[in-house]
Symmetry: C2
DNA sequence: ATGAAAGCGCTAACAA
DNA sequence: TTGTTAGCGCTTTCAT
């Protein structure tokens, strides 16, 4: 008895489970091609042909299948398709923060290219955290995205080696990959910053401050390097107090700006390392009486309508995304072999703030 | 002979194909659990246990399996997993345009909620095209996303009925669903616009213009309704020339603004229906000598630093996304049954432009 | 033109 | 603790 009851129980449970699976099925309760085939009175493969628009089906059969599809509300399960075919027709984009106005257009342009190739875009924000970047990238790889566009937060991407070897197309954007050889699409941060700072120097400034992002971020380091180069070109020795790198949190930037603009020999001009920094520096300058020259890296909306307009070194976020995505699909075509480093030019847009003369 | 050669050929080809599949395999050349099992000298299920952190594996076995995983660069194929388990742990977001500063924060907040639930976010831009919206939504459904957050472009979502019936959680944001009963999270467009326009009226304006998005867009219609209500509340008859609805393309908006601000009885104030419109109207006003009062729907960056600051009716894009996503996951929990309509309040932020007196 | 059978890589259910 | 078997829903291959 003791043994027989459990056995009966188990059998009973199995039947219940079986019934549940049939009627309330995984995915809620979705019809499969098999269901459509049964309803239309045709074979499974015929349904597959109709669904995928393959030839070799008489109009009459096609109509019957289509009716069954509509009646059942059938929708092909792409998971199964992917498993069989091996391609997901989707690419992943890992960036820092979708809410940052710099990444919106970038993401959109990647999406447009993906769409042109019939692929969907899956994206994730790393929040500038290397661990989260890796976690995200690997999750995307587990989903077998065909390719990956990565704006790296970390500086070691060796964890991607098996993936790349396995055929996952990969392009890094905005910052280079760390410790692996991969395609990179960048803006000319060094050249852009150098030009922006030289512009300030040309307008008579000598005490020029630089406020940028954390030095471990490649673009921040490059822009600082550009600043230093421009100063050196002009034979101006740089003082430590003029440079401040760190998080772009408004409080940190505000303090940095206020420090530079105070004291016995304040800077007369500031070069802001990115859009977040520029916005805060504009605020700080607006609050103070004395005019301070400003050039910012990245364009910002309404910059032309401020008094004075904000002079910027603009980079083309959409072009960055488009270039990267196109390269990604060329990798997938097989038409690309050697990793390359592509650098897009920046553009100085003068609007007033960068042309102010030194206040002293 | 004639028959044997082809047969031999076919067999030969089959062997070649077989070899190719094994070595250069789909997904490039990825090891499977079977490969890992063979290498570690254990059964398939043991590998599965290790990969998924299931109990019942001795530390020693686990170590051997882990070594095989690392050596082979194995990464679980989630497509297969999804096929078996029925849940993709991913949700879809369909919005208008990721490049629009309103949608960046919204998307980011949806992503954060998804992340907290262990889900990835797949997103797509409809470009305000109903067909593209449907195409995108159905593609996401074919991928069996667990849920869908949709900012609708179209006004008929009956195509979603089979999906919802099949268990796809669905929440509409920013605009209601058309012709189906579904969860909706909105900002109070009507109330916000009414308050904004009433604010202008309170500052002495009577000839007030309204420039908004295409009337088929729910928010645009609601804001226009709010405008009309405020005018009616004040007993001001509205003239047709004061209202202009259409695409938010800068050229169209510019022309609309210039028309309203010209002629014998120009408007003395403008209510701008969304952030895109506001930006263009600010430009038009700045170019003209005469001051014009302005209140815009949606906050915009740097609005506080313009001269005068731009008074806005702000909506909280991040809260919109968060609320929607949380509701989505509550649907998936099964803790939600009846579709609801949630309306988030807006907030009037006075900065100067909305407090200007009429110029005449 | 149509269908039957095999199997993609994984997990659930069961057995040992 | 470990392994075996049977699918998940689709596409591929091959017969008919």
């Amino acid at each position: 008895m003791d043994r027989r009851i459990p056995v009966a129980d188990r059998t009973g449970q199995r039947i219940v489970a079986e019934t549940a699976r049939r009627s309330e099925n995984r995915y809620g309760n979705r019809p499969t091609m098999k269901d459509v085939a049964a309803r239309a009175g045709v074979g499974l493969k015929t349904v597959s042909r109709v669904v995928n628009g393959e030839p070799g089906v008489t109009p009459d059969t096609e109509r019957r299948v289509q009716e069954a599809i509509d009646a059942l509300g059938f929708r092909r399960n792409d998971s199964a398709r992917v498993l069989r075919k091996g391609s997901t027709a989707s690419i992943g984009l890992v960036l820092e923060d979708l809410a940052d106005p710099f990444y919106g257009p970038l993401s959109r342009s990647v999406e447009e290219v993906a769409r042109a190739h019939g692929a969907l875009l899956i994206n994730g924000s790393s929040a500038e955290d290397p661990e989260r970047e890796q976690e995200l990238v690997l999750a995307l790889c587990a989903r077998r995205v065909d390719g990956l566009v990565v704006i790296p937060a970390g500086d070691d991407h060796r964890y991607l080696e098996p993936e790349i070897k396995a055929g996952v197309a990969t392009v890094f954007v905005d910052r280079p990959a760390g410790k692996i050889d991969a395609d990179v699409v960048l803006s000319d941060s060094f050249g852009g910053a150098r030009e922006g700072v030289a512009h300030l120097i040309a307008h008579g400034h000598r005490r020029i401050g630089f406020i940028g992002d954390m030095p471990r971020i490649h673009t921040a380091a490059e822009r600082l390097r550009g600043y230093r180069a421009a100063m050196e070109d002009a034979g101006i020795p740089v003082e430590d107090a003029w440079m401040s790198l760190g998080v772009t949190d408004p409080r940190r930037v505000r303090k940095a700006a206020e420090d530079m603009l105070s004291g016995p020999a304040p800077v007369t001009a500031v070069f802001a390392g990115n859009n977040r920094v520029t916005v805060t520096v504009v605020r700080v300058i607006a609050e103070r009486g004395r005019p301070v020259a400003l050039v910012g890296f990245d364009d910002i909306e309404l910059a032309d309508l401020l008094q004075p307009g904000v002079t910027v070194v603009a980079q083309d976020a959409a072009a960055l995304g488009r270039t990267a995505a196109e390269r990604l699909f060329r990798q997938l075509d097989g038409s690309l072999v050697t990793p390359e480093r592509i650098e897009l030019p920046t553009r100085l847009i003068t609007r007033g703030s960068g042309e102010l003369p030194p206040a002293d």
